[in-house]
Symmetry: C2
Subunit: 255 residues, 2 copies
């Protein structure tokens, strides 16, 4: 994930459906756990049970990567795990640059799930000069004034915006100016970026709202006039988590 030209082999990543891409990390995590417990092979049915994904969907997803299974046997855990890593671009470490070292920024910097999945925090910045110099997990907090300088040195692949809503757009602009083309946005704002930059948005309040909505639906189902009384399991699919960048400097789709 360092910005070199990719010399990789026959990675069959042409036209993997978006919904499949979104599930690959799930398979990847479960395969990692299976590796730890020294399970050698796994069937689509087993993967389905472990991930909650329909087994036909598992097979279809994996078939987009290539024919890595063996009929009558299943998938070799280590081999499949490696192939998914490769297709996800995790074989080279991705350098992550976190702006904002409040509770959230610090939580992200010390999040164990990053290192184990090939992400390396190469910068953790904050405006608060009192915070500068403090060690947070593997990172030391730097001043946000040094953003450009640090970015030039560390060449981050991904920028994470963990600031309040107010400063977010400015930080985003500076990240983009520094050459970063992938941004993960935790601030509750829609970020405006040029077309070549991809922004994904994580909105923690939104997740709660969706839960609250479904909870309300269940209560209605239980107690209201229709009186069905069956607590339906409502499936939420089709959530678009991506800030679109279809035109130059247009706002995108937050989650």
């Amino acid at each position: 994930m360092t910005p070199q030209s990719p010399s990789s082999g026959p990675v069959a990543t042409r036209d993997i459906p978006a919904a499949t891409v979104a599930r690959l990390p799930i398979y990847h995590r479960v395969l990692g756990q299976l590796l730890d417990t020294e399970v050698a092979t796994v069937s689509s049915k087993e993967l389905a049970d472990l991930t909650g994904v329909n087994s036909a969907k598992v097979r279809k997803d994996l078939s987009h990567l290539g024919s890595y299974g063996v009929r009558g046997v299943g998938y070799d855990v280590a081999y499949l795990n490696y192939q998914i890593s490769r297709d996800l671009g995790l074989t080279n470490d991705a350098a992550v640059f976190i702006v904002g070292a409040g509770n959230l920024g610090r939580a992200l910097a010390s999040y164990a799930g990053f290192a184990s999945r090939g992400f390396q925090v190469v910068g953790l910045l904050d405006v608060d000069s009192e915070q500068v110099g403090r060690q947070v997990g593997p990172a030391r907090i730097s001043s946000v004034a040094e953003l450009e300088e640090l970015a030039a040195v560390t060449q981050p692949d991904i920028g994470v915006v963990a600031t309040p809503a107010e400063g977010a757009q400015e930080v985003c602009d500076r990240l983009v100016a520094a050459g970063i083309t992938s941004i993960l946005n935790f601030a509750p704002t829609v970020l405006t970026v040029p077309a070549h930059v991809e922004v994904r948005k994580v909105d923690l309040g939104l997740e709660l709202q969706i839960l609250a909505f479904h909870a309300q639906q269940r209560r209605r189902g239980d107690a209201s006039t229709n009186g069905a009384g069956v607590p339906r399991a409502i499936d939420v699919t089709g959530l678009d988590l991506r800030d679109s960048a279809t035109g130059d400097s247009r706002p995108g789709v937050p989650a």
Copy 2:
């Protein structure tokens, strides 16, 4: 959102498509900002520009709530905002119970986006006895040993699991036993819950992985043999963020 029987009026929430539900909070946030700037009406086109959602989609989404627009004019900001709040179940405060007061738990407890959207943190628990008693934003940290007791008193609507992966399932079981039926899971594990409980999963590493994948795709498009050189904007839809609860005690779909 307190567990009383809903006496609400003609809330037209039957069969709102899942994809629409996932976007309502986005409209809600933007409408709130428009309210602050005293904008009286807004057209679907304007809402589309502000959220990055296609304008036809905006109209279709809003039409699921009822006919709240005026042809030739647009939507009354305050009225639409209220209707969405009502459909999302935000008119009554939802009580949120956070287990795990590490960086992430503290970030959530002090997250401004919660209070402004009708969520109230009624509990923040940690195993670390040194943390107990500390004030974090509006909440004071309690001992996780008091989980059942506190839940009985505060009657939380939503439980948030912000513990490491190891403790997550136990915490989840205790939340379920305490009567909580909506759980937001930040731990990198699939939680197993009874069918009547809904779990939504937020996986911070997953978002980074998806960004990394797209970044890799862009580099391929730029530099590889096909030589197209056009940085495609790849759209990611269809991400299922919900742990399913289709059968009793079956694992679900993590995000």
